[in-house]
């Protein structure tokens, strides 16, 4: 038998049927008589393999099909066609066995019992997962250390603030120490302090060997945690590979910001010395920016060119960010199937 990956997705597809109504009340009434539907393809034949211990960032614009994918991977949604295997199991068929091995956080919606104190929710989960008291207590202490859980335990879930709720939700999803964790926008709407806490926590999980699939809009989450990047757009995977490679290939340009003693009369002199770079005025008179591709023009040449024309006081370099790549995908520069 061939070597099997931890998560195997083949030709996965999800189509939702939506009512095709004309706008307004008249449209709705008409729909009652003459029912018309349109198919919306949320996930369009994707293939994906994730090995044990990998940390994968799954990104894409709103409505790209990220959450739908995660919902199929966790057994919440039944695929229209194609296959999903997690540890060899089909999540939506072998739901209970799957739930014991997987932890899931949906940032948009809580999984705690709304009307119960956090402690009761966690204890119910303890019993559902069949954890021993000793294991449960040990895990809770661990979670308390990183998430500051103790203060939340007596609070009813509905009374938690967003940040508190996310911490409690993470604890609920991880109380059984699952080897596979899906995080769907775990930092959405959180302030910087809580965000950092959540990221540190996830980084720790990855370091321990937990397989993590992280869906997010926040690129800070990705750079901190993941090595592999999967970009989805309009239901198709448009990139799947190393984050560093993407940056080198698609976000090669960097910008040098110069502060000079005296503003040069014209930038033309510098521009003439650097035909392959873009020279522009900075935010103030005594500043200028040079944007260039290090593979074409070296940083040293840029510096030398500017120094020849002006008296450089200070300089700062902006490294390329993963954000730039994803922004280009969002903007449609890299169409579906254009990479890979």
């Amino acid at each position: 038998m061939r070597c099997v990956s931890l998560i195997e997705v083949a030709q996965l597809r999800k189509v939702f049927r939506r009512a095709d109504k004309k706008p307004g009340l008249a449209g709705s009434v008409r729909h009652l008589v003459e029912r018309r539907f349109v198919d919306k393809v949320a996930v369009d034949d994707i293939d994906l393999r994730v090995e044990a211990g990998e940390a994968v960032a799954y990104v894409g614009p709103n409505g790209a099909g990220k959450s739908t994918t995660v919902k199929m991977l966790t057994g919440v949604l039944v695929p229209t066609s194609g296959t999903v295997h997690v540890e060899g199991r089909v999540p939506h068929k072998d739901r209970i066995a799957n739930a014991r091995r997987v932890g899931v956080v949906f940032g948009q919606r809580t999984q705690l019992w709304w009307d119960l104190p956090v402690r009761d929710s966690l204890e119910l989960l303890r019993d559902m997962h069949g954890l021993s008291d000793a294991d449960y207590r040990r895990n809770l202490e661990r979670l308390d250390a990183t998430l500051g859980l103790a203060e939340l335990l007596p609070v009813t879930a509905r009374k938690l603030s967003l940040g508190q709720r996310m911490r409690a939700d993470l604890a609920a999803a991880l109380v059984h120490t699952p080897p596979i964790v899906f995080l769907d926008e775990p930092t959405i709407g959180l302030d910087i302090a809580v965000k950092d806490r959540v990221r540190a926590f996830v980084r720790e999980l990855v370091a321990e060997g937990t397989t993590v699939m992280l869906t997010t809009h926040d690129l800070g989450d990705i750079e901190d945690i993941c090595r592999r990047l999967v970009i989805i757009d309009q239901g198709r995977i448009v990139y799947d590979g190393d984050i560093g490679t993407v940056v080198e290939t698609y976000a090669r340009e960097r910008t040098m910001h110069f502060s000079v003693a005296e503003a040069p009369a014209s930038l033309a002199g510098i521009a003439a010395r650097l035909p392959d770079a873009a020279v522009a005025e900075g935010p103030s008179d005594a500043q200028l920016d040079v944007t260039f591709d290090p593979a074409v023009v070296s940083s040293a040449r840029v510096l030398a060119a500017v120094q020849a024309e002006a008296d450089v006081v200070d300089l700062r370099i902006d490294e390329p960010a993963i954000e730039d790549v994803v922004r280009r995908v969002y903007a449609g520069e890299l169409g579906a199937g254009g990479m890979q």
Partner: protein
């Protein structure tokens, strides 16, 4: 951190025991949180007594002008009533969660249930404890206490045991039907359980001897959605009256059928579940 261990496939008995234990744990947790609101508890209980009591007053009024309906006296019908109120009370107390299905399913809260290692249908049923059920049970018990003195039944340990079995079965009939009708939420995309409620209201017809209705209604109440097995039929079995009182002894079987039906409809619905957003 200890790793979560996949439990080896347990035997059927062990699985039933685990499910029953988890069901009780879920109900217990909700009982505690419900009891925090003492005023709610009293308001709900008193409302339940009023709601059911109105029916009894109506019955009293009807029998004030006619001595009997199809051979059934006031106290016979009061027996049916007591049975309905009792079994309804039990179903509300222990499986009120069925009525939350429309809300949970259509506002996307169902996702969470699918991610926990416990049967989704049992999670739904145990997600609420209907304290007004206590009001029902109290009223049903009182009504029963008064009516047994007036009906022609020899109360032996055997009839008492039979009665207990019938009441519990009748409650399970209602739980099964509630599950099946509320599972319509997977097809009807609104957060209100109007469909299930209209079926429940239809089932109220079985609070009277169903022989007073035409054949269509009788078939619907005893075969299609056998609400009559939580009231008329078991009452017949206890009273040994009517043309086919033996039918009431089938109540436990009908209960099993209704529970299976509920589970099947729920499972079919789950395959259609589309969550919310994407």
């Amino acid at each position: 951190m200890a790793s979560a261990q996949a439990v080896a496939a347990p035997g059927v008995l062990a699985r039933v025991r685990r499910n029953a234990w988890l069901y009780r744990r879920c109900l217990g947790a909700h009982l505690r949180s419900t009891l925090e609101y003492e005023a709610d508890f009293w308001i709900m209980s008193v409302s339940a007594v009023i709601a059911q009591g109105v029916g009894i007053v109506f019955l009293w009024a009807i029998f004030g002008s006619i001595p009997e309906i199809n051979g059934w006296t006031f106290w016979d019908v009061a027996m049916i009533y007591a049975l309905v109120v009792l079994s309804e009370g039990l179903s509300v107390l222990f499986a009120q969660g069925a009525w939350s299905m429309a809300f949970t399913v259509n506002l996307g809260g169902f996702d969470a249930l699918l991610l926990r290692p416990f049967s989704p249908v049992l999670q739904v049923l145990s997600s609420e404890i209907g304290m007004n059920g206590l009001g029902n049970v109290a009223l049903g018990g009182a009504l029963l206490g008064v009516s047994v003195a007036h009906v022609d039944v020899a109360w032996t340990p055997a009839t008492i045991a039979l009665f207990v079995v019938l009441v519990v079965s009748a409650a399970l009939v209602k739980v099964g039907l509630n599950t099946a009708t509320n599972a319509a939420a997977f097809w009807i995309k609104t957060p209100w359980s109007m469909f299930a409620f209209s079926m429940h209201t239809f089932g109220e017809l079985a609070r009277f001897p169903i022989t007073i209705y035409g054949i269509g209604v009788r078939l619907a109440l005893s075969v299609v959605l056998p609400y009559a097995f939580m009231s008329y039929f078991p009452a017949q079995a206890v009273l040994s009256t009517g043309t086919a009182h033996w039918l009431g002894f089938l109540t436990p079987l009908v209960a099993v059928w209704c529970l299976v039906l509920g589970a099947l409809v729920f499972r079919r619905g789950m395959l259609r579940y589309e969550s919310a957003g994407n």
